[in-house]
């Protein structure tokens, strides 16, 4: 994999205009998360939240390889993935704020952002819980004779829970069109991976299921896109699941109350030097895009976020009776 100071590259067969849109989406996610951080700090939001600043290239790179009708499941650290899959930011904010017009009508919250209309089938808050569910969404594609795929994001720490094992095994034996993407951000909560996992390269776990395991630089959106796109093509062609480990880093603490003191000094700074948004912008400029164009896009992204948040803030709370709805169909 690329060295600690390597840049990123553009995706091989994707128009530059599209890759400029990735810049926008990454910046939108970054700003979205920054706003969340502040809302929590200001006590505007209840519960907890788990932010993904620093991991945008994995989520946007992977989702950019999908169709809207492909499905994607992610974790409680899922704002980025859900936005990358196409969910509107205002309704995502609305959900986090517990508003009636939130994506889940205020019933899910930060950890459960879902937008079925764009194939974002759920954010899952029990470690491992969604990996088996992705088996079913992928199976249905086969069953119906379609060529859709299901992508599943999860963290490094999640590779130690039983559901991970069962899901990878069944996906492999049934050759399901499922792409398992492990966002290895080096920590599960406050525990560095070496304290909980006896191997270093998580991709090696693919071998237990007769699968190839691919480890990539998760800060390089072009590489992420190309890798996932290839995996998706294989899955669509009926060649079964792929396990991708994307090395990345979360800039913030695990959840809102975590200052991240367990990190060795300088680690965060080193990773920020390879910020995925900056790297992608540099790659775009190197490929001939005007810096001004990039600046403009990032400014628009920030504006989009501000407007989305303002809209969400203006929405009403859910009606009291609404809490009794949606238990059964």
């Amino acid at each position: 994999m690329s060295s600690k100071t390597a840049g990123s590259r553009l995706a091989a067969d994707v128009p530059v205009e599209t890759q400029l849109e990735w810049l926008r989406t990454m910046q939108e996610i970054r700003s979205f998360e920054d706003e969340c951080h502040m809302m929590f700090a200001r006590g505007l939001v209840r519960g907890s939240t788990h932010l993904c600043q620093g991991q945008e290239a994995v989520e946007v790179g992977a989702c950019s390889a999908l169709r809207t009708t492909d499905t994607m499941a992610c974790t409680y650290r899922g704002h980025g993935a859900v936005i990358a899959k196409g969910a509107p930011m205002d309704r995502a904010f609305g959900e986090i704020l517990g508003k009636a017009e939130g994506l889940c009508a205020g019933k899910g919250g930060s950890m459960h952002l879902t937008d079925m209309t764009v194939g974002a089938i759920g954010s899952f808050a029990i470690i491992g819980g969604h990996l088996p569910i992705v088996l079913g969404t992928a199976f249905a594609e086969h069953y119906e004779g379609r060529d859709g795929v299901s992508v599943c994001f999860f963290g490094d720490g999640s590779t130690n829970i039983g559901a991970f094992h069962e899901a990878l095994n069944l996906a492999a034996i049934w050759k399901l069109p499922a792409i398992f993407i492990c966002e290895n951000n080096l920590y599960g909560e406050y525990s560095p991976i070496a304290n909980t996992t006896p191997i270093e390269r998580l991709a090696d776990r693919a071998a237990s299921y007769g699968l190839e395991g691919i480890q990539i630089d998760g800060q390089d959106i072009g590489l992420v896109h190309d890798t996932v796109a290839e995996a998706v093509a294989r899955a669509r062609a009926g060649d079964g699941p792929v396990f991708i480990e994307a090395l990345t880093y979360r800039y913030k603490g695990h959840s809102r109350s975590d200052p991240g003191l367990y990190r060795p000094e300088g680690e965060l700074e080193r990773w920020m030097e390879r910020d995925p948004i900056v790297l992608h912008e540099r790659a775009l400029v190197a490929a001939g895009v005007d810096q001004a164009r990039c600046d403009e896009i990032r400014a628009e992204a920030r504006k989009n976020v501000d407007e989305a948040l303002a809209r969400a803030m203006s929405w009403p709370d859910p009606a009291p009776e609404s809490r009794l709805e949606h238990v059964f169909a």
Binding site: G129, P132, L135, W174, V327
Partner: protein
């Protein structure tokens, strides 16, 4: 026109008819395909419907439940088998935290027409980990419907209803009843979930029971009929939703309630029936509502002990007598 059929045949026929009717229905579970099921509850279905729709899985209950959830999300109607209901322990999270709450947590964005079939109950010496009445683990988990068929007709009808239902339904099939026989109509009804059956009418006492206990209660009612006691036997058929109306209306007449169940009483569905009834019809009762259940212990293996643990006809008769004598 009715025919006689076993509980097992009824289960198989329900799945076969559902699959015939709707291509979105498929089956998955351990050894349900090539082997026709550990309890032979899917016998012949692989041959009839092929490997696309009848699927063997590894020993991975979490994966089974997850697959059912994901497939249901996509509009399929999975019917997953959990061989012994007790194995719900290894996939409890999938059932209680994911399946039950998914629709609610997404504000109604998803509909999950998933059916989970589980082999329930005691009576055959399978021991503490293969004999439980597992419906009681899920009573405090809103979002699940729970069917507990006692007869072949209900084994058929409730399973059909579960598969058609837009929501998750757990169907507990009682292992000790698989060979029991009963009538079934040529074109059997598919009952709504949540409607009790008044199995036997009587004016003196209302006795509510499911599955194997329903059969024993029927025997107890025979015994007491000889003495001139009229026992009204009600089988709720689903414990969620529970048909409090039918039970309540009966108690309004008999003024006495006994619940017979194949589980410890604490934390049982029977306790909930009593609590609801007391809240709604406090004045209807002339005697304390009685729960006749298993001991407050795990289920012992030895036949000598297991038969004591499970409410016997004698113990049921005795409970009813005491309730009448109050």
């Amino acid at each position: 026109m009715t025919a006689t059929i076993t509980y097992r045949q009824a289960v198989i026929q329900a799945m076969a008819d559902a699959m015939e009717e709707d291509d979105s229905v498929f089956l998955l579970g351990e050894d349900i395909a090539a082997a026709g099921g550990p309890f032979k509850l899917t016998d012949g279905l692989l041959e009839r419907f092929g490997p696309r729709r009848v699927r063997d899985t590894p020993i991975s209950e979490q994966a089974i439940i997850g697959t059912a959830i994901g497939a249901a999300l996509q509009g399929l109607r999975p019917v997953a088998e959990i061989m012994f209901a007790d194995f719900a322990g290894v996939c409890y999270d999938g059932i209680a935290n994911e399946l039950a709450k998914y629709r609610y947590m997404t504000g109604g964005q998803v509909t999950l027409p998933a059916t989970i079939r589980l082999g329930n109950g005691a009576g055959a010496g399978f021991g503490a980990q293969h004999s439980q009445s597992v419906e009681n683990w899920f009573l405090n988990v809103p979002g699940l419907k729970i069917a507990v068929p006692a007869t072949p007709a209900d084994a058929y009808g409730l399973l059909r209803a579960a598969i058609r239902d837009p929501d998750p339904v757990l169907v507990f099939e009682h292992k000790h009843l698989l060979n029991s026989e009963g009538p079934i109509a040529e074109r059997p009804d598919v009952p709504p979930l949540g409607v009790a059956e008044v199995v036997r009418s009587g004016d003196d006492v209302t006795v509510v029971a499911t599955q194997m206990m329903r059969l024993r209660v029927e025997q107890a009612a025979e015994v007491l009929a000889v003495e001139g006691v009229g026992v009204e036997v009600i089988d709720p058929r689903t414990v969620v939703p529970f048909d409090h109306e039918t039970v309540g209306a009966s108690v309004d007449r008999t003024n006495r309630l006994v619940v017979v169940q194949e589980c410890s009483n604490d934390g049982s569905w029977g306790a909930t029936v009593v609590a609801r009834l007391m809240a709604d019809r406090f004045e209807s009762l002339d005697a304390p509502p009685l729960l006749v259940g298993g001991d407050d212990t795990p289920i012992p293996y030895s036949g000598a002990l297991e038969e004591l643990w499970i409410p016997s006809v004698d113990r049921i008769v005795d409970g009813i007598r005491r309730t009448l004598a109050y």
